[in-house]
Amino acid sequence: MTVETDLTRLEDLMLNERGFVFDPNTGESYQVSGTGLLCLRALQRGASIDEVVAQLVTSHDVERITVRCDVDAFLWDLKQLGWL
């Protein structure tokens, strides 16, 4: 499954290793968790949702269904921000 993204908005996000996110379009800044940061970076690279979920399952040793729910919730938040 792929995710429809406004790649310009998503690609323009400025991230750092500590999970600080700056949206140059709005001037807003955010703090995301380590897994949120992993998701954002994967999406910026053009990964599909399935690929993002697979990456999290591998790196965090959590059941796929749990990861999928959390990722969906995160994507919903991103959509509210206009990044997807």
Partner: protein, 359 residues
């Protein structure tokens, strides 16, 4: 090359900062040997006393005194300390001088100001029509000649409303008594008209730039306000990049053939995420020194443009760079204050570097 000799007004910083001190600093950044004449209305304009500030300062009559006295005084100042160019930085000066380029040229003073008709078109009273032409939304605004009319407009629109003056001041009023008090104060300070404007909820954005007078841009910088003072001033802002802001700015430039510095003020309306054009300021904003620190020296580019030298397009500062307004104490000497206070109508200079005063 002959050193640049230029006069700049608006030297006050502090709670309600003016752009002149930052313009002087930016010019000096580009040309350390520039001779800068500070034109002030008040001996307590703090930029007068800043290290590296104006070489000489002169007191001026307020623009409300009229064009004649203002030009007379400019001629006196120029006779005392010659300068070739003048960058007025305050709205009231610009409105008064926009139609006086020829008179200023006769005094040997060069200015580059927007055409008076363009200036009127961009004024608060006519902004809605220009915005419609440029296909950008503005808040609903009614124009009143006096407090009585403003009360009628506010009653029709419903409180709260913003009450604004022709040049400065914007007060959020919640009832007729508040409107009457604010209206009387604004009229006393700035004269008519009063503008009654719907308040919008959203974040404030500003775009500063230089128009080339041919419908194009020499550069621009867009900010989002991060910290807003109780006077509505941006005490902290961050550079943003939104193509919609760029496009609106281009449309305004194309529609007006704007010549010189400007600041567009927007609110990003939280109802629909769209930008509402609130105001066009025909001058550099108080934060003009910020992009100059990031390689986009707008005052220097403008001086180059006035001198008809080639000007390269200014780079857009990178999104994420921010400024915080930081107040410091500058020191002066009461002798300096006294000299400026006594300066009208005769010219008295003070030399900031030696802390001496000479007539």
């Amino acid at each position: 090359m002959k050193p640049i000799r230029i006069a700049v007004s608006g030297m006050h910083r502090g709670e309600n900062p003016q752009p002149g001190a930052s313009i002087a600093a930016a010019i000096r950044q580009a040309w350390p040997d520039a001779f800068i004449v500070g034109l002030v209305y008040n001996a307590f304009e703090s930029g007068v006393y800043v290290a590296g500030g104006p070489d000489v300062c002169h007191a001026m009559p307020y623009p409300t005194a009229g064009l004649g006295p203002y030009l007379t005084r400019l001629a006196e100042v120029r006779a005392a300390t010659p300068f070739d160019w003048f960058i007025p930085t305050l709205d009231a000066e610009i409105v008064m001088l926009a139609g006086a380029s020829e008179e200023l040229a006769e005094l040997g003073i060069g200015v580059r100001l927007p055409d008076p008709a363009v200036l009127a078109r961009c004024g608060k009273a006519q902004l809605s029509a220009l915005a419609e032409h440029c296909e950008v939304a503005t808040p609903a605004t009614a124009i009143a000649r006096d407090v009585g009319e403003a009360l009628e407009h506010a009653e029709a629109a419903g409180y709260p409303v913003f009450l604004k003056g022709p040049f400065y001041d914007a007060v959020l009023v919640h009832n007729p008594a508040g409107l009457a008090a604010a209206g009387a104060a604004i009229l006393a300070d700035w004269g008519p008209p009063l503008l009654v404007q719907e308040p919008l909820l959203g974040t404030e954005f500003n775009v500063m730039g230089l128009g080339d007078g041919k419908g194009g841009l020499l550069g621009s910088c867009a900010l989002r306000k991060l910290i807003v003072s109780d006077k509505g001033k941006g005490n902290g802002s961050v550079v943003v990049r939104d193509l919609r802001l760029d496009e609106i700015t281009r449309r305004v430039m194309a529609a007006t053939h704007w010549s010189g510095p400007f600041e567009l003020e927007f609110i990003r309306d939280q109802r629909d995420d769209g930008y509402r054009l609130i105001e066009i300021n025909p001058r550099f904003p108080a934060w003009v020194g910020f992009p100059a620190q990031l390689g986009a020296n707008f005052p220097a580019a403008w001086v180059e443009w006035m001198l008809q030298r080639p000007v390269r397009l200014l780079p857009q500062p990178a999104p994420g760079r921010f400024f915080l307004r930081h107040q410091i104490e500058v020191s002066g000497d009461m002798g300096q204050i006294s000299a400026l206070l006594d300066a009208l109508p005769n010219s008295i200079n003070h030399n900031l570097t030696s802390n001496s005063i000479s007539a």
